[in-house]
Amino acid sequence: MNIYQEELLDHYENPSNYGTLPRCTISHEEDNPLCGDQIRLDLIVEDDIITKVRFSGHGCTISIASASMLTEEIQGKSLTEVKKLSRDDILDMIGIPLGPVRIKCALLALKVLKVGAYGIKGWPGEENE
């Protein structure tokens, strides 16, 4: 299957929840040192519920599309629930096989979320918890 399939390109072309939130509960940014991609997530959390989420930054198709999909996934959910999101959940959302370099692109947004919201450092799936 081709990485450059329509669904991913659509997310890239028209990402969901793109932007920033000037007054938010959590704001965090990370980059991927391999390629310089940068993703920032802004969340408004009320009573443990993520009521609003926006992402911003720059990156390739995979990192932008996965950030877009992640924001759709976590909008309206509780922080407790979202904490369970794993590397495999993201790869399932992307739905195509990725090599070791591109996997980092796919996981960048989740990494931002994990570090920003829970202080869990490291790449999802490789954290030493």
């Binding site: 081709n2 990485i3 450059y4 390109l9 890239y12 072309e13 028209n14 990402p15 793109y18 391999l34 390629c35 310089g36 991609d37 911003s56 720059h58 990156g59 390739c60 198709t61 995979i62 932008i64 591109r102 692109c105």
Partner: protein, 415 residues
């Protein structure tokens, strides 16, 4: 050493030495600046070691160990000849360019660099010719200074006079940029550095594979390169040094092979080159490197350079036709077979990803040269790099793949 005569080579015959090119669908391998393919004769030489005389070197008093030792030392002689080193003992086998540079930074650096001393680098250095000097500067209180580049990607010589002073103890300079392909006029830099009594280490990772490099003509103090970028195996690299410097330097790694005699509290060290080759080395890989030298010498370095120039000129012509493309670096005649570029509105990763689906292997990223990326004001670039086995068809395939990328992506809005 006599200049190599130009002798065109038979590209079809060369490609037959690399089984990877017989695969279908065809592969346009254009990531040679990262690592190259390995020809059959080199693989066979390493197989022969494993199949017929596998043993440790320098120790065994039996036939196959003696043969392994001989082959290992013959490889050193071939490398010495390739770069015209006066004596083969000035050729130290390491793992790669990075280890060679670290060896100098630790060993020579520990006794020759102190607080307030200055190390001059350039903005286009690979991280492996930058980070070891940062670490040395942090250990010693020395200061790093940088020769900047012009917008065309050439070194800015107007600054050189101000940079080189009596404080300068070392100039660490890449012969050829791995991102831009720029061939730096290092001979004049070496002369200028010597005029202020500074030593010079040349990062030759991207030059030795592509044209004839003569350490005596350059008069460099140290020179480092890797086997895997010149059709050789991974895990083997070279450090050349002037004898008097290598003799005076303290050991880098301690252990077996590098000693003369060992007592409980102190040891005395072996002669060159053993002093810097602690432990069991990459034996098969060193032997493979010897055969690699034979291979590229026979293919003829002058012919390789001319061949790369043809590919490069053609690639420049074709790529310049693509709308929204930016090429970085100087004109083809000032560089080796490297072409770095970006396509407007398409992330370098996506360009490389789409090229991959079209059978073209290129690199996208910062190429271990983040200060240069910053200078070029880009986050990353796409880089295609050629070697002796690449063809005009490979360039056409690159061009077609880029047109495909553009078609697929430019209707897309970029966030």
């Amino acid at each position: 050493m006599h200049k190599l005569e130009f002798r065109p080579f038979d590209i079809e015959a060369i490609r037959k030495d690399f089984p990877i090119f017989a695969t279908t669908p065809p592969l346009a391998f254009l990531d040679n600046a990262a690592s190259t393919q390995t020809p059959r004769p080199v693989v066979e030489a390493m197989d022969a070691y494993y199949d017929t005389y596998r043993s440790n070197i320098h120790r065994g008093i039996y036939r196959i160990s003696e043969e392994a030792t001989e082959q290992y030392e013959r490889a050193r002689e071939k490398v010495a000849q390739l770069i015209n080193a006066p004596r083969s003992r000035q050729v130290i086998f390491t793992r790669n360019t990075t280890e060679s540079i670290n060896l100098v930074a630790y060993s020579w650096g520990s006794t020759n660099i102190g607080e307030g001393d200055e190390i001059v680098l350039t903005t286009m250095e690979h991280h492996s010719n930058l980070v070891p000097w940062q670490l040395l500067a942090q250990r010693t209180g020395a200061r790093l200074r940088f020769l900047e580049i012009t917008d065309e990607g050439l070194l800015d010589f107007t600054q050189l006079r101000d940079l080189l002073t009596e404080k300068t103890k070392l100039v660490a300079i890449g012969h050829v940029s791995n991102v831009l392909g720029t061939i730096n006029p290092i001979q004049s830099i070496i002369e200028a550095a010597h005029a202020v009594d500074a030593k010079v280490i040349v990062d030759a990772a991207q030059s030795v594979p592509h044209f004839q490099v003569d350490v005596q003509q350059l008069d460099c103090d140290f020179l480092a390169f890797s086997g895997h970028k010149m059709c050789g195996p991974t895990g083997i690299g070279v450090l050349y040094g002037k004898s008097e410097l290598l003799e005076e330097m303290p050991p880098f790694l301690g252990g077996g092979s590098m000693i003369r005699s060992v007592e409980r509290d102190v040891s005395s060290y072996a002669e060159l080159p053993a002093k810097f080759e602690a432990g069991t080395p990459s034996i098969a890989e060193a032997i493979g490197l010897g055969y690699t030298v034979d291979y590229i010498t026979q293919a003829n370095l002058a012919a390789i350079h001319v061949h790369e120039q043809e590919l490069l000129k053609y690639a420049h012509q074709r790529l310049e036709q693509i709308e929204g493309i930016t090429l970085y670096g100087p004109a083809p005649h000032q560089k080796t077979g490297v072409i770095s570029f970006n396509m407007e509105g398409i992330h370098p990763h996506d360009v490389a990803g789409i090229l991959d689906t079209h059978g073209v292997a290129v690199r996208a990223g910062h190429h271990c040269a983040q200060p240069l990326m910053k200078r070029l004001d880009v986050i990353a670039t796409v880089r295609a790099s050629f070697y002796l086995y690449n063809t005009i068809e490979d360039v056409d395939r690159l061009y077609e793949g880029l047109c495909r990328a553009q078609k697929l992506m430019t209707r897309r809005k970029i966030v």
